[in-house]
Amino acid sequence: MIGIFFVALTALCCLIIVALVAVILGDIAWFGWGSLNLQFLLTAPQQGMTEGGIFPAIFGTVFLVLLMTIAVIPLGVMTAIYLHEYAPRKSMVIRWIRLAIENLAGVPAIVFGLFGLGFFIEFVGRGIDRIFLDGQLAFGQPAIIWAALTLALLTLPTVVVATEEALRAIPVSHREVAYSLGATRLQMVRRVVLPQAVGGILTGGILAVSRGAGEVAPILFTGAAYFLPYLPNKLNDQFMELGYHIYVLATQSPDVEKTKPILYSTVFVLLVLTFALNFTAIWIRSRIRRRLRAEK
């Protein structure tokens, strides 16, 4: 009797969650679909954002995420390779480093934003201006490069963890075979480990991108602009971004009612973008799992 009750309860909880997701998605799709068209995707906001499209925000998001990826993948992959292939296995220091990386994943995004402001803009950016540009203001202000680097820090744990997971999945015997055939450690990593880890690294990269693409807090102080009449084309330009644009539309518009359809469509675009990335990651991962299983 209690058993049946418990099953029903757990099933109900599941149902509530599914219903919630369905309502949210349905709502966004229903209202977002209406004003969604090519025009919307390819033009800039007009009339104080009550009309026009979101092209600069899409462009800025893609540019931002691209820069972030270029920064986070090498850093994350090298970190994971050091931790898994080079570092002494039982070292206390290594254990702390790993713990620190995992904890990094739990740090609130706004803290990353403040860190980016303090470290990248105030320290690194101002430093560059002072030393290389005679104090002329160029990098010591919010810019897409600092926002991208801040996001890269935020998503670093994702890449490190995914890469390490991929490295762990490679049988020790493959490494020993490489050594026994006279490979140095570098040759072993390059010829045996990396080729097999590519899928995992890719998954980590995509997950990082889909996480990074939706975060607003880290870019708030580090480079996102409320509105820009031009597209960013230099590393120290500011930029518009989808998540931030949504925030702006929802809270700063002169006519909230009039912007509502645009707001819905923007949310819809952002969701589709992140979902697509997530599904790609899941798909790649399942393909790799299947291949690994087939080989055993």
Binding site: P88, R89, K90, S173, H174, E176, V177, A178, Y179, S180, L181, G182, A183, T184, Q187, R191, V192, Q196, A294, E295
Partner: protein
């Protein structure tokens, strides 16, 4: 002892966690000979082989003492050329370990990292290695297929051929036939009898009969102790130690 061909092992001891894995083992094998090593599970056979080609360097916490010479030169020192040693002392693992690559790339792995990349030369080496491993007929027209497509027995012969690509002076085999059917086993034994002409072979085996069939001399290891080391015929017909007799007649434990 310098100048002597082959592998000399003198008073080799290996400890881990305060336990003796090998206790003062002394063995010798020369080019033209097959040294069989038999002994029950856990007697240290694998540990010994991994030490001989410095794969034991990967295991943390092993304390190795004693001396091992390859052609008279010590191979245990910190300053020894580990990569060079591994290329001269090839090791075949107990289970087939093809890399997730094509047959061709598996075979070419060793030569390539050694700097040989010319396809012509690789093919020539492959043909002779595969023939030595009795695998040429079966794979010569499918070298670009994934190695995983081969049967277990074929994979194990591929691993043997892959090691032979290095043209090693010493060939270490760790229970190379443990998962194989009698025909694959016979093929590997045939291959070893021919290969013996060009190199010294150390064959670790769980199968006492296999040692008696192919080994020139046989060593019996028990819990890290070298109980007996003698020419194979002698060890199998007139064992000096009671424990050897019990083991080879299957009355052990």
């Amino acid at each position: 002892m310098t100048g002597q061909k082959g592998l000399q092992i003198e008073e080799l001891s290996i400890r881990a966690d305060g336990r003796d894995l090998l206790r003062s083992v002394s063995l010798e094998v020369r080019p033209g000979e097959i040294l069989g090593i038999i002994g029950p599970a856990g007697s240290g056979k694998t540990t010994l082989l991994r030490c001989l080609n410095r794969l034991a360097d990967l295991d943390e916490g092993l304390r190795i003492s004693g001396r091992v010479f390859l052609n008279g030169a010590s191979i245990l020192g910190r300053d020894a050329d580990v990569v060079g040693i591994r290329r001269k002392i090839g090791l075949v693992f107990p289970v087939p370990t093809p890399l997730p690559l094509s047959i061709f790339d598996n075979l070419a792995f060793g030569p390539r990292i050694g700097g040989i990349t010319a396809v012509e030369e690789l093919r020539r080496m492959m043909e002779s290695s595969l023939k030595s491993a009795y695998l040429w007929e079966e794979v010569n027209d499918r070298l670009n297929e994934p190695a995983a497509n081969l049967s277990g027995g074929q994979q194990q012969r591929l691993c043997l051929a892959r090691t032979l690509m290095l043209e090693p002076e010493i060939l270490l085999l760790d229970e190379p036939c443990s998962g194989l059917d009698p025909i694959s086993t016979a093929q590997i034994e045939e291959a070893l009898k021919v290969l013996r002409k060009d190199m010294a072979i150390v064959l670790v085996t769980n199968n006492v009969k296999q040692a008696s069939r192919v080994a020139d001399k046989t060593a019996f290891l028990l819990l890290g102790e070298l109980v007996e080391f003698a020419p194979t015929r002698e060890l199998f017909t007139t064992p000096r130690d009671k424990r050897t007799e019990d083991y080879i007649t299957g009355r052990f434990g």
